[in-house]
Amino acid sequence: MTPKGDLKMDKMVVVEGSYAVAHAVKVCRPNVISAYPITPQTHIVEDLAKFIADGEIQNCECINVESEFSALSALVGSSAVGARSYSATTSQGLELMHEVLFNVAGMRLPIVMTVANRAVSAPINIWNDHQDAISQRDTGWIQLYGENIQEVSDMTAQAFKIAEDKDILMPAMVCMDGFILSHVYEPLVMLEQDLTDEFLPSYEPLNILDPKKPLSFGAFADPNYYTEFRYMQQKAMTNALKKIEDAADEFYDLFGRYYGGLIDEYQTEDADIILMAMGSIIGTIKDTIDKLRQKGVKVGLLKVRAFRPFPAEAIRKAVKDAKIVVVLDKNISLGLNEGALFTETKSCLYNTSNHVPVVGYMIGHGGRDIRMSTIENIISEAQEVMKSGIKVESQFTDLREELL
C-alpha cells in the first residue's frame, strides 16, 4: 500500500468544506458549470459563482438553470461539445436527475458532480445520510466517498481524471456528507493550480458535436444492439477499478497525499473485527478503534472509497482473516431491511471459501448524530456474535424505541 503523506501545516488553511470543493473544481479548469441550489450543496455553487464573478475561472460558463433536471441536461449538451462539465447537488435534486443520470452514463459523458449527501423525503429532512446517492447506484456513475474535506477536495481532481480516461469515459460522483463535511471548517491544503495542471490533463473527447464532422449522438438502439451498449458500460466500470487506484497513486506521487484507492484499511492487519463504512463516519470510527485498541480489542476498519465500481476483490482480500465483518450503512433498501454496502459485501463473499459472518447496521439516518459510544456498542455486539453466532443479521442503530 502506498504510504500516507505528511500533512504540511504550513501549506494548510482553514476553510469550509464547500469552499474546498469549489476551489478544487476551479483548479480543474471546468468549461461549463450548471447547477441548481439545494441545501446543503448551496455554498459550493455560491463559491463557484463568486469565482466566475471575479473572473477567476477562465473559459468557463456558469448556467443558473431552473431545476436539477436541467442542470444535468445542460451538461449533456456541453460535455457532448467537448467541454469539461461540472455540477453539484444532493438529495431531492439528485433524485430529480435520475433519468438524466442514466443518459449521461449511456452516452459516456465524463461529467463530474459533487453530491453533498442528504436524506430523501418524506419526511423532508436536510441532514446527512447516503440514501440519495445509494439510490442512484445502478445509473452507471462512478461513486466515490470522502472522509474529510481534504480527501473530497483531492478526490475532485481524481474524479475528473478517472472519468475522462479513454478506457473509462463514465461520469463520476464525488460524495461528501452534507453539513458534516460541506459546512465544516478545518485545515486543508488546497489544490495547487500548477500541480493540478500536471495531474489532470485537458479533456480530449473521442467525439464531439461539431459542424465540421457532423456526428449524431443519442441514437436509439434496438434489441440487436442494446445489450452490447450495456456490456460496454460495465466493461468501462471494470476498467475504472484499476484507474481509481492508479489515480490515487499518481495523486500521491505529485501531491504527497493518499487516502486509499478503492478502499483503505486502518488497523486491519491483526483485526478479528473489521468494520466497513463510507464517508465522514470513518474518522469517528478511527478514534473509536484507537480507544478500543488500548483496551486490547482487535478491531480494524475497511474504508470504502469507491462504491461504484464495487471493489469486490479488494474487500475479499481485506477481510480474509477477519472473524467478523460489521458493515455500517447510512441507507436502507426498504423491504430488505439492509443497507446497500452490507448487502453487496455479503454478496461478494458468497461463493468464496471465506465464510466469515457479516452483520449490518443502518446508522445515521437523516442526520442522527453518530457518537463514539454508538460505535463502541456495535463493536461489543460484534464480540458477542463472534462467540455465539449471528442472532440479528441487519438492524437499525439508535432507534428511539419510545417513539415507536
Partner: protein, 86 residues
C-alpha cells in the same frame, strides 16, 4: 462493425436503408407538363426528387415511399401516381 463508445453515428447513414420497398404507388413524370417550378423537390419528405442537368426532375425510387405529395401539389399535374407492378 464495432459499436463506437457512446454509440455515435456517422452522418447521413440512413442512406443505407432503401425505403423504396414501402411504396404502393409510384410517381411518374410527364415532362411535357413540367414547368421546372421545383415544388416537388422542395416538398418531398424523403429527399427522393432530384434535379437533372436539363432542369427537369427525376425520382430516386430507392427511397420514394410513394406518398404522392409531389403529385398532389404539382401545379401542372405533371406527376401521376401509378400502381407499382410487383
Amino acid at each position: 462493425m464495432k459499436i463506437p463508445i457512446g454509440g455515435v453515428c456517422e452522418p447521413g447513414t440512413t442512406i443505407a436503408n432503401k425505403t423504396g420497398g414501402w411504396r404502393t404507388y409510384r410517381p411518374v413524370y410527364d415532362y411535357e407538363k413540367c414547368i421546372k417550378c421545383k415544388l416537388c423537390e422542395l416538398l418531398c419528405p424523403d429527399m427522393s426528387v432530384f434535379p437533372k442537368e436539363d432542369g427537369y426532375f427525376q425520382f430516386n425510387y430507392d427511397y420514394c415511399k410513394g406518398c404522392g405529395i409531389c403529385a398532389n401539389e404539382c401545379p401542372k399535374s405533371a406527376i401521376t401516381m401509378v400502381l407499382e407492378e410487383k
